[in-house]
């Protein structure tokens, strides 16, 4: 019998009572300076089986909302208004014992950094099973069996053995699976996830997100998903709430928020993120000016007014309510309809010199930097007594293993890869902070294979670096002026009395005014510190600047400003750059050439456009399919890598990627180091799979 049930649309008839309904929630923290309102007037509801994303930059109060639901605000936090209805019943004002019974049973929570979420001195099995033992009075044996079942459901390999392990014996991704399993053991009605994948690598993150989605369908759990990453939110959510400075400024279905944002802040956010598929010639990032106000000093009217391009006098006086602008689409803006109707024009000061950007496309010049079979090994710290006495064999972490590449003058080479792939070590090797184990680094025709302490000052000057962490990039003891002035004096011999003027000129180049000269680093925000770091690197007028994840710890709106600044300065000085990042979208936006690294080796290198289009190296393909794209309409192939990145102490034989490669063709991958295949003169792929076959792969991302 051939019955044809195709295309039956899923229309749920059931009345969906909200599992969680938050209304006008307000939370304050007591501090020495009095109560500081951290969250004000937040309302949203989550139904059964729905994922409600909450997105916002750091410090906007998203985690506070999450912890208020389980009434875990710490000693000085307090809910001062509004209501939290869970399963139709009010949670505010419930006794501690009642709430305790709900926690872990009906409401579960997963948060960032699984390693610290698990007790280091208890076995995984004990930590899992006690949830059942406490809430359901199960016997230890029965609880263990249930836990093993649950571990199987989160695709944990070898669950019986995992039950007996300690947290430190699992990888980050596995730990997060354990935490998720722990949260779901009691089949909770509500699952709160606070940045659950932020600490994970992009390929692992993709797998965990898939898992979350699958489990949600199976358990019909309502999920409150908190993240700062627009891409992740776009991937997992049904509904999205955008938070800004403690208020929810917009709330709607995910497509609405991403494709048709109504609030100026949301619109600004969307213009800040580089999108995969756009290169720097075709797009420009428009940062939001200013910075997030501190919760202690909020503007009296609309909280976004000081940064808003549409701000009018009324915005300064009246505080807008969150109102339904379109069906199901809420925004907190007086003029949402008006703004939605008109087309956005970048403000005058932000209009980029697009023509110049386009014209900048560098003719391929001679290489300024050339790496030949560079190897950087670290000796593993030896701990046995034998090795202490000099016996035993030294083991090496092969952080960078046999890397050859060239960077043409005036171009930017982006280096991408997951954590531990050796990209930062590569940069440090080039500038001479790490000693080279083998190979040769050539810069402007000079051999610079020696550590920085043995280099000539005039060579040191030509290679400068912009660092990742804004908090450690500046010496907290010295003023901005001193720190920028120091390289000026050392490298360019600027006379003492001219240093100040010169520093101020540099500060202006990075869009900071002269008043910053005397400030100490702790008086600067993250983005400002990063700007000073850039000014310091460029003070020497170097020929090559290495940027080691310069924007990865910044919020998106600040990130955009810093990226733009780097582009602008590069253009001004004609500097060559090496840009290291783990974010493929950023690299794409920023680079002329891209190198993809895995476990110390380059998999694929070539012009940026070529990397993001077939033929791909299988690893590049997997990376691209894992990147969360902040565009719910984009189509992305689903390729998931199994397992975790092997240790660089014992890298796999043959092709390093063979243990996780979804396109492994056979024993040859395990046995032989893959050959270099030239797609074009500049585009090289290191893989055993013939090029013709790689060319046949369809593009991973298609944007409608």
């Amino acid at each position: 019998m051939r019955v044809d049930f195709e295309q039956i649309t899923d229309m749920d008839y059931r009345i969906k009572t909200p599992i969680l309904k938050v209304e006008n929630l307000a939370i304050s923290y007591e501090t020495r300076k009095g109560d500081v309102p951290a969250v004000r007037d937040v309302s949203f509801e989550i139904r059964r089986g729905e994922t409600h994303g909450i997105v916002g930059e750091s410090g906007c109060g998203k985690s506070t909302v999450a912890f208020s639901i389980v009434n875990f605000l710490g000693r000085n936090g307090r809910i001062v208004g509004g209501s939290i209805l869970f399963q139709g019943q009010e949670l505010r004002g419930r006794g501690e014992e009642e709430l305790r019974r709900l926690r872990g049973d009906q409401i579960a929570m997963v948060y960032q950094d699984p390693m610290s979420a698990l007790n280091p001195s208890l076995r995984i099995g004990d930590q899992l099973s006690e949830v059942l033992i406490v809430h359901r009075n199960l016997s230890k044996k029965a609880a263990y069996e249930k836990c093993i079942d649950m571990l199987k459901r989160v695709y944990m390999p070898d669950p019986e053995a995992v039950m007996l392990r300690y947290p430190h014996q699992l990888s980050g991704g596995q730990q997060q699976r354990v935490v998720i399993a722990m949260a779901l053991l009691n089949n909770p009605a509500l699952l709160i996830m606070d940045e659950p994948t932020t600490a994970l690598d992009v390929t692992v993150e993709a797998a965990v997100l898939d898992l979350i989605d699958e489990l949600r369908r199976e358990f019909d759990t309502a999920i409150m998903y908190i993240s700062h990453n627009l891409g992740v939110i776009a991937r997992v959510s049904d509904l999205v709430g955008v938070m800004y400075a403690g208020e929810m400024v917009e709330r709607a279905a995910v497509e609405e928020v991403f494709l048709n944002p109504l609030h100026p802040y949301t619109q600004g956010l969307m213009r800040c993120v580089p999108k995969l598929g756009l290169s720097k010639e075709s797009s420009y990032l428009y940062p939001i000016r200013g910075r997030v106000p501190s919760p202690a000093e909020l503007p009296p009217g609309c909280i976004f007014e000081p940064r808003c391009d549409y701000a009018r006098p009324q915005c300064q006086q009246a505080h807008p309510e969150l109102r339904e602008v379109a069906p199901g689409h809420f925004a907190r803006c007086h003029f949402a309809e008006e703004i939605a109707a008109q087309k956005w024009q970048p403000p005058q000061d932000l209009i980029p010199d697009l023509a110049a950007l386009a014209a900048r496309k560098p003719e391929v010049a001679e290489p300024i930097l050339r790496l030949q079979q560079v190897k950087t090994y670290y000796e593993q710290e030896r701990k046995s007594l034998a090795s202490l006495l000099g016996l035993g064999q030294a083991r090496y972490v092969k952080a960078v293993d046999d890397v050859s590449l060239e960077v043409p003058r005036g171009c930017t080479l982006g280096v991408v890869g997951e954590s531990g792939c050796g990209k930062s070590t590569l940069a440090k090797t080039i500038v001479g902070l790490e000693p080279l184990t083998d190979g040769r680094v050539e810069f402007m025709g000079f051999d610079i294979s020696v550590p920085v302490s043995k280099r000539d000052l005039s060579l040191i000057k030509e290679l400068q670096m912009v660092f990742q962490n804004p908090d450690s990039t500046m010496n907290p003891s010295f003023s901005v002026g001193y720190q920028i002035g120091r390289p000026l004096r050392r490298f360019r011999g600027v006379p003492r009395h001219q240093v100040r003027d010169e520093v101020i000129r540099l500060l202006e180049a990075v869009k900071l005014d002269a008043s910053y000269y005397d400030r100490l680093p702790r008086q600067l925000s993250g983005g400002e510190k990063q700007r000073v770091g850039i000014a310091r690197a460029f003070a020497a007028r170097p020929n090559l600047v290495l940027c080691d994840e310069p924007v990865s710890s910044l919020d998106v709106s600040v990130q955009a400003a810093v990226l733009n600044l780097l582009l602008e300065i590069q253009q001004k000085y004609g500097t060559t750059m090496l840009f290291i990042a783990h974010d493929l979208s950023v690299v794409r936006f920023f680079s002329d050439f891209v190198a993809v690294m895995y476990l110390g080796k380059i998999c694929e290198i070539g012009p940026a456009e070529a990397i993001y289009a077939p033929p791909y190296h299988p690893y590049t393909e997997a990376l691209l399919s894992a990147v969360p794209i902040p565009d719910p309409s984009a189509d992305q192939k689903r390729i998931r890598l199994s397992g975790t990145v092997p240790s660089a102490l014992h890298p796999p034989s043959g092709c390093r990627f063979h243990t996780r490669c979804p396109r492994k063709i056979g024993e040859i991958c395990e046995r032989e180091i893959p050959p270099c295949q030239h797609v074009t003169a500049e585009h090289r792929i290191y893989c055993h799979i013939p090029l013709e076959e790689l060319r046949r792969i369809e593009p991973v991302v298609t944007v409608k």
Binding site: D4, F5, Y13, I15, I19, Q87, Q106, N187
Partner: protein, 217 residues
């Protein structure tokens, strides 16, 4: 078609300490008719329906107005609920027709779904009716034909092959013993993308079967 896939997961639940008044309000606000009462770890303690909340007049007979008020405000859900041992429940792996049978035989409107004594969901008559509705592809357009056929194996196959011979798709298909003729079955098929006349013409040709009802919905 198992209970676990069609039940309502994470149903609203109450505690035995809830007052009857509160429970009435709660059920009314959330528009539900059945409220499983659970203790620690969602263990089923009892079930409250709208009927159980209507206090039996015999209990109040001897009380005056003020005593009634006090009695009612002190009355908790735990006092009036159907105790767990009397609650008829269903396993999550039961089929939905099994659930329907239990409900029909006991003349009840809802079944809590249990796993090791813990409430993991609830299935009500509405859920079952909804599935009937879905089985008949109610929300999709097509030609719905009722055919009366002998209670002999192979008859349905004849009907289906006649439809597939025309290249049509079947949206839904089901059969019940004919209420009018014990030797016959009434089968219902819903055919998509087919003109009504063509359907009638095609099915009339099937031997031994007669079209009882045709409609486009």
């Amino acid at each position: 078609m198992l209970v676990k896939d069609y039940m309502t997961k994470h149903p609203l639940m109450g505690q035995p300490t809830m007052s009857v008044v509160e429970a009435q309000r709660f059920m009314g606000e959330n528009k539900i008719r059945h409220l499983p009462i659970v203790g620690k770890g969602k263990r089923l303690l009892g079930l409250v329906t709208r009927q159980t909340l209507l206090v039996h007049p015999a209990k109040l007979g001897s009380l005056n107005v003020w005593e009634i008020t006090r009695f009612l405000s002190n009355l908790t859900v735990g006092d009036v609920m159907v105790k767990a041992k009397d609650v008829i429940s269903v396993d999550k792996n039961a089929t939905i027709e099994e659930a329907a049978r239990i409900m029909v035989e006991n003349k009840i409107g809802c079944l809590p779904v249990l796993e090791d004594g813990i409430v993991i969901g609830i299935i009500t008559e509405i859920d079952l009716l909804a599935q009937l509705m879905e089985m008949m592809a109610t929300r999709l357009p097509g030609v719905r034909v009722t055919v009366r056929m002998p209670n002999v194996s192979g008859e349905l196959a004849k009907l289906v092959s006649a439809i597939s011979a025309q290249g049509w798709g079947i949206l839904a298909c089901g059969g019940v013993p004919s209420p009018h003729d014990p030797a016959k079955w009434d089968a219902v098929v819903k055919i998509r993308d087919a003109p009504r006349e063509a359907v009638v013409a095609a099915l009339e040709k099937v031997e031994g079967q007669q079209i009882v009802d045709v409609r486009e919905v």
